[in-house]
C-alpha cells in the first residue's frame, strides 16, 4: 500500500515542521504581499497544500474517480488577490493536482478561477465581475476551500451523480433508467467509464466563465450571474466557449440577513445541461436549448459563538424531450462546533430523493434515493496547519451493497 504510507509520512513531516514554522509562515505571508503607489495597488499570493487520503468501498461515491480502494490525492492551490485603488479587485486561483476532483490523473496544473471585480460605490450596493468564478447559488461556495470547510468532501447536492448525462441526450425512459442504474441495460463497454458521463445537480463550486452583478441594499443582498455552462456542468466545460454562448445559464440569489447570526437565501438557475457536442444526439425536431436544468434553492445559516449551522435545499428539474421532466430534491443540514480553540467537530446529514417519470408500465422513480451521514472531527495544530478526518456512511445507488463507507483524511498547510 504505497499511498497510505506516503500520506502518513506527509502527515508526520507536515505536523512536525508546521509546529515550529508558525512564525515563518506568517513571515511568508508578509513576503508574499506587495504594494506600489503608496498602497493604492496591492497584491498578495497565498495558498494551501492539501494531502488527502481516501479509503473507499465500491461503488466509489460522488465525483471521486478511482479504480482502487485507496486514493492519495495531493493538491497545491495558489491564490492571487489584488486590490487596485478603491474600486477594482482581482483574484485568481491556480491548482496543481490529479484532477479537479480527487482521481488518478497525471499530476497537472490548471487555472481554475480568475476574475476582475469593479465596485463603483463604497457602500457595496453594486459590484460587477467578469471571469471564471464560483457560482452565486447557495452558501456552500463561500466555505468550500479546504481550510474553511469542516469536511473533506462536498455536500451531496454538489457531488452526487444523477443518471442524466451531459454528452448525450436520453431518447427514452428506458435509456435514462439504465443510466440511473434503476434498471439494467447499460452497455458493458460503457459501464466502466459511465461515471464520467453522469452529472450532479451542482458540480462543486461551479467555476464556469461568465459575468455577475452583486451587492447589498440594507439587510438584503443580491447576486446574479450569466455563465457559459449550467450548474451541473463538469469542470472540463467551465472554460469552454465553443457554443458561442448560445446557451448561457442564468442564476441568481437573493439574501436576507436580519442580523449577524442568521442568513437566509433563495436561489434559482436556468440553463442548458447538454454540452454543445451532444447536439448530434438530440431528438430530431428538438433543440439543444430544450434540455434544460432548472434549479430552485433555499439556504439558511446560523452562527453563534462556537456553533455554526448551515442548510441548503434544492429542487431540480431536468427537462428531457420524449421522456418528460426528471425531478429531484436534494438537501443537507450541517453543523460545526468548536470544542476547544483547536479542536472542532462537524456532522452533516445529506439526502437526495428522485421523482417518477412516465414509463411503459407506469410511473417509475428515475434514480435511487440516497442518504449519507458525514462525521468530521478536525484539529488545527497551528494557525497554518489543520487535520480533518471524515467518516461517511451512504445508503442508496450502491449496486452490489446497500451501505458504503468512506474514510477521508485531509492535512492542510496554509500559507
Amino acid at each position: 500500500m504505497k499511498s497510505p504510507r506516503l500520506a502518513s509520512l506527509w502527515l508526520l513531516a507536515g505536523v512536525t515542521l508546521a509546529r515550529g514554522a508558525g512564525d515563518l509562515l506568517d513571515r511568508v505571508q508578509d513576503v508574499l504581499t506587495w504594494s506600489v503607489l503608496e498602497d493604492r495597488m496591492r497584491a498578495r499570493v497565498s495558498g494551501t497544500i492539501d494531502a488527502e487520503q481516501y479509503d473507499l468501498q465500491r461503488p466509489v461515491p460522488g465525483v471521486i474517480q478511482t479504480a482502487g480502494s485507496t486514493l492519495f490525492s495531493p493538491r497545491l492551490a495558489v491564490f492571487l488577490d489584488a486590490q487596485f485603488g478603491r474600486h477594482v479587485y482581482a483574484f485568481a486561483q491556480a491548482r496543481a493536482d490529479r484532477g479537479f476532483d480527487p482521481g488518478q490523473e497525471k499530476f497537472h496544473a490548471r487555472l481554475d478561477e480568475y476574475a476582475v471585480r469593479f465596485t463603483p460605490w463604497r457602500d457595496g450596493r453594486l459590484s460587477v465581475q467578469a471571469g471564471r468564478f464560483a457560482t452565486v447559488i447557495g452558501s456552500w461556495t463561500a466555505r468550500h476551500g479546504s481550510w474553511s470547510d469542516p469536511f473533506v468532501t462536498a455536500p451531496l447536492p454538489y457531488e452526487n451523480l444523477t443518471g442524466v448525462w451531459d454528452a448525450e441526450a436520453a431518447r427514452s425512459s428506458t435509456a435514462l433508467l439504465a443510466w440511473s442504474h434503476v434498471r439494467p441495460g447499460l452497455p458493458a463497454a460503457i459501464a466502466a467509464t459511465e461515471k464520467k458521463l453522469r452529472i450532479p445537480i451542482i458540480w462543486g463550486p461551479s467555476y464556469a466563465a461568465g459575468v455577475a452583478a452583486s451587492g447589498a441594499l440594507g439587510r438584503f443582498t443580491y447576486a446574479m450571474e450569466w455563465k457559459n455552462a449550467s450548474l451541473s456542468s463538469r469542470p472540463e466545460t467551465w472554460s469552454e466557449i465553443d457554443g458561442d454562448w448560445a446557451h448561457p445559464t442564468m442564476s441568481a440569489r437573493l439574501g436576507y440577513r436580519p442580523n449577524e447570526m442568521w442568513n437566509f437565501g433563495v436561489s434559482a438557475s436556468d440553463g442548458t445541461y447538454l454540452r454543445p457536442s451532444a447536439l448530434r444526439t438530440v431528438v430530431p425536431g428538438h433543440r439543444l436549448g430544450e434540455y434544460r436544468e432548472r434549479v430552485l434553492g433555499q439556504d439558511i445559516s446560523f452562527a453563534w459563538h462556537y456553533l455554526q449551522v448551515w442548510t441548503e435545499i434544492y429542487t431540480t428539474r431536468f427537462a428531457i424531450p420524449l421522456v418528460g421532466s426528471a425531478d429531484t430534491l436534494a438537501y443537507f443540514v450541517e453543523t460545526k462546533y468548536k470544542l476547544t480553540p483547536q479542536f472542532f467537530a462537524a456532522v452533516r446529514w445529506n439526502e437526495q430523493l428522485f421523482s417518477t417519470i412516465p414509463d411503459r408500465a407506469g410511473p417509475v422513480r428515475w434514480g435511487h434515493d440516497v442518504w449519507r451521514v458525514d462525521f468530521a472531527p478536525g484539529y488545527r495544530f497551528t494557525p497554518h496547519t489543520q487535520l480533518k478526518v471524515q467518516y461517511s456512511l451512504q445508503h442508496g445507488d450502491s449496486g452490489a451493497r446497500d451501505y458504503t463507507r468512506t474514510l477521508a483524511t485531509q492535512f492542510t498547510v496554509r500559507f
Binding site: 474600486h87 451587492g215 447589498a216 443582498t221 468548536k338
Partner: protein, 230 residues
C-alpha cells in the same frame, strides 16, 4: 558580552558612593516611587505593506483601503518590582476589519476586552503558548464584551477565524513599566523607581534589544538602542 550599565544623571562618583545606597533602599521599598525618566529611540523596521483583504467569495464588496499601524516597538523595564494591584482592563477593538491597536503591551494579570465595532461577526483566537483561547463568533454590541485575562508573560498572536488578514499582537510583560514607541521609534518611560535594571525593546517576535541601566532618584536617562542588525 553585556554592555556596561547606562546611568542616570548626575553621575558624580562621590554622589553615588555616599547617597545612592541609602536612596535605593528608600526608593525600592514598597510604596516609594522615584520620578526617573528614560527617553530614547530605537530603529524600527520598514513599514509593512497594507494587507489585501480576500473577497473572492464575498457577495458584498465595500472597497476601500484598510489601514494598519506602522511597525512599533515596546520598551519596558525588566527587574524586580513590588507587586501592584490588578492592572486595569484595556480594550482592543475590531473596527474596519482590523485590530485597533494592533500592538498592545500589558502587565501580567491584565484583562483585555475585545469589543466588535463592525457590522459583521468576528472570531478572535490565539494558539500562542502564552495564551490559547477562542472567543467564538460574536457581534457588535454584545454584552458582556468578550474578554480574556492574560496571566503568563509572553507574546500572544491574535487572529480572526473569519477574516484571514486580521492579525494583532499582545505582549504580556512581568513589569508595570512599559511604553509603546511612536512610529519613529521614540519613547519616554516615566515614573520609574531607582535601581539597576535591564531596559528592553521588543521590536518583533524575533527581535528584542536590551541594555543594562542604572537609575538614580530624580534623574533622567537618554538611551539610543543600536540599529537592528540585518
Amino acid at each position: 558580552m553585556n554592555a556596561p550599565p547606562l546611568a542616570a544623571r548626575p553621575r558624580s562618583r562621590w554622589w553615588r558612593r555616599a547617597i545612592l545606597p541609602a536612596a535605593l533602599l528608600v526608593l525600592t521599598s514598597p510604596g516609594a516611587r522615584a520620578q526617573v525618566t528614560i527617553e530614547g529611540r530605537i530603529a524600527l523596521p520598514k513599514t509593512r505593506t497594507t494587507p489585501v483583504v480576500t473577497q473572492r467569495y464575498e457577495i458584498v464588496t465595500k472597497g476601500g483601503v484598510f489601514s494598519t499601524n506602522p511597525p512599533l516597538a515596546v520598551v519596558y523595564l525588566e527587574g524586580s518590582f513590588p507587586k501592584s494591584a490588578t492592572p486595569a482592563a484595556v480594550q482592543m477593538t475590531q473596527k474596519d476589519l482590523s485590530f485597533q491597536p494592533s500592538l498592545l503591551p500589558l502587565q501580567v494579570g491584565a484583562r483585555v476586552e475585545f469589543p466588535n465595532l463592525d457590522d459583521t461577526y468576528h472570531n478572535i483566537f490565539s494558539f500562542s503558548p502564552a495564551k490559547r483561547f477562542d472567543l467564538g463568533r460574536y457581534r457588535a454590541n454584545e454584552t458582556p464584551v468578550p474578554s480574556v485575562v492574560f496571566e503568563v508573560p509572553g507574546l500572544v498572536t491574535l487572529r480572526c477565524d473569519i477574516h484571514e488578514h486580521m492579525r494583532a499582537l499582545i505582549l504580556v510583560l512581568d513589569t508595570p513599566h512599559f511604553v509603546i514607541t511612536d512610529p519613529e521609534g521614540n519613547f519616554r518611560l516615566t515614573g520609574l523607581p531607582a535601581g539597576r535594571y535591564t531596559l528592553k525593546a521588543w521590536v518583533d517576535s524575533k527581535t528584542t534589544r536590551e541594555l543594562p541601566v542604572e537609575l538614580t532618584a530624580q534623574g533622567s536617562l537618554r538611551v539610543e538602542f543600536p540599529a537592528v542588525p540585518k
